[in-house]
């Protein structure tokens, strides 16, 4: 099993969700985060007081998938989240040791 973590631009959420559903990924966790990479922030001005805001709003999507579709999931997220503009985000894949569905007690692949 793999945990696929993707940091994407917020407005891309729907596209990414639809693309993942199409390949059989049935659940995900989404958090609102702030971050930066090569994309710089912006400047806000309040009555003459300037603030450079380095952190930009992003979304962090986490999905747990069987190892055999991890690559497909990464590919599908990439194509749906890409705009070609700086700040599109990144994807990280890490192994999962154990998984469990709380309601039924199913474990590992049965829990995904």
């Amino acid at each position: 099993m793999k945990l696929v973590v993707a940091i994407i631009k917020p407005f891309k959420l729907d596209e990414v969700r639809q693309a993942l559903t199409a390949i059989g990924v049935s659940g995900m966790t989404v958090t609102e985060v702030k971050g930066y990479g090569r994309q710089k922030g912006h400047t806000e001005v309040y009555r003459g007081a300037e603030y450079v805001v380095n952190f930009l709003p992003k979304l962090r999507i986490e999905i747990a998938v069987p190892s055999n579709i991890a690559d497909k999931a990464v590919e599908v997220i990439t194509s749906s989240a890409r705009t070609g503009q700086i700040g599109d985000g990144k994807i990280f894949v890490t192994p999962i040791d154990h998984a469990l569905r709380i309601r039924t007690g199913e474990t590992d692949s049965d829990a995904l």
Binding site: E44, V45, Y46, R47, G48, A49, Y51, V53
Partner: protein, 435 residues
């Protein structure tokens, strides 16, 4: 039928009692002089001005501070309402508006002693004295609440309460008496229709002195101190704007065309101020900000305040434009040039705006509107009188504010500790937090 007659019987007793009492108590015929129309309008105006403080100013200020200080900032407005109302009734009204000594009134109306149902205050003969007292109370409240904006994010709540009580007693009450209550400034002809000196300049200078005495916020100039939620500030502005119809319109103390003229001038000044500040930002920074537009509107409103009942309605547009320009300059260039942390620009908007408005009242005063001529009608003398009023207010408010701050600091520190400032006033002063 049985149930119906039971219900009717239950009503019979109170109905007959009410009938007895309505014959027993004399009906109050309208006393000669008191106008029902004026009274009705002034009741509404009173409510409008109270609304300007809660929730108008509370929202306006709180939206502009950081999240960790939002509740504490609102608490300052709430506390101002609660405390100043009682002090006003206790002695503030009496010392400000009863008796016409040049320096101070009398304590004849201590806790409203001697106030009758049909009595009037000579300053407002067509409305009950009680209503005049209540209306003026709302002015005292908002003036005190305004001052705290300069030292937002860092004043200890206990110090704020003590300071506010002292500031009310020693700055607001005397000034109100001097300008409106029969004191020396009013007698010499200073034109201040609704509070350019008494409210805006005095609060602005008080705020500036407080900002200087208490020092800059931790992180000023280096950290991001951006507003928590400007939508709160916009809503506050709306309540202030509409409430100002009562603030300036009600200062006519009657339901008449002078009130309407004042309201028109007020409204136009707000519009012109908003557009001007927005236009300046659009030109200089390529984008008109919402904060800029609401700041411009409030600048226009504060500046027109002393002039509103003395000038022609269209003068409101000119005064609003000037307000937008002058206050923008004060909140950006002036503040940074002298490096004081007037957190919410009380001096930049209300102080400078009030001062400008007092001068412009001396320029644009039109005899057919308010009975006095200004510069444009060939009376340059009025400008000198206005300047004198400004000077007195600057010295008195500035000086007394300094003395009061030093006095309060002998009992409690004015600022919260550095840890508490970093943690936030909501948690440290009130034990609460926005989620």
């Amino acid at each position: 039928m049985g149930a119906l007659s039971y219900r009717a019987a239950k009503l019979a007793a109170p109905i007959s009692l009410a009938t007895v009492f309505s014959f027993a108590t004399p009906a109050f015929a309208e006393t000669s002089g008191i106008s029902a129309a004026d009274t009705a309008w002034m009741i509404v105006a009173t409510a409008l001005v109270l609304m300007m403080t809660i929730p108008g100013l509370a929202l306006f200020y709180s939206g502009m501070v950081r999240k960790k200080n939002v509740l504490a900032t609102m608490a300052q407005s709430l506390a101002a309402v609660a405390i100043i109302s009682i002090l006003w009734v206790a002695f503030g009204y009496s010392l400000a508006f009863v008796g016409d000594g040049p320096w101070l009134g009398t304590l004849d109306r201590w806790f409203l002693a001697g106030m009758t149902m049909d009595g009037v205050n000579p300053a407002a003969k067509t409305i009950p004295e009680s209503l005049f007292m209540l209306y003026q109370m709302t002015f005292a409240i908002i003036t005190v609440a305004l001052v705290a904006g300069s030292v937002a994010d860092r004043m200890r709540f206990s110090a704020y309460l003590l300071f506010s009580i002292g500031w009310f007693m020693f700055v607001y009450v005397p000034l109100a008496h001097w300008v409106w209550g029969g004191g020396f400034l009013g007698s010499m002809g200073v034109l201040d229709f609704a509070g350019g000196l008494v409210v805006h300049l005095s609060a602005g200078v008080g705020g500036l002195v407080a900002a200087k005495v208490m020092g800059r916020r931790h992180g000023y100039g280096s950290e991001n101190l951006s507003p928590f939620d400007l939508s709160l500030a916009v809503m506050g502005t709306g309540l202030l704007w509409v409430g100002w119809f009562g603030f300036n319109g009600g200062s006519a103390l009657g339901a008449n065309s002078r009130a309407v003229m004042a309201i028109i001038a007020t409204h136009l000044a707000a519009c012109a101020g908003a557009l001007t500040w927005g236009a300046i930002e659009w030109t200089i920074r390529r984008k008109p900000s919402v904060l800029g537009m609401i700041s411009g509107a409030v600048a226009g409103l504060g500046t027109i305040t002393p002039a509103s009942g003395f000038v022609a309605p269209w003068h409101g547009i000119v005064i609003g434009v000037i307000a937008g320009l002058v206050c923008f300059w004060a909140c950006t260039w002036l503040k940074h040039r002298f490096n004081y942390d007037d957190s919410l620009d009380v001096f930049g908007v209300h102080g400078i705006g009030g001062m400008t408005g007092i001068l412009l009242a001396g320029v644009f005063a039109t005899a057919s509107i308010g009975g006095t001529s200004g510069l444009i009608e060939g009376n340059p003398q009025q400008l000198l009188i206005q300047l004198y009023g400004i000077a007195v207010t600057l010295v008195w408010s500035g000086g007394m504010t300094y003395v009061l701050l030093k006095l309060v600091s002998a009992f409690v520190p004015l600022r919260v500790s550095r840890e508490h400032e970093l943690e936030g006033l909501d948690i440290s002063q009130h034990g609460e937090a926005l989620q």
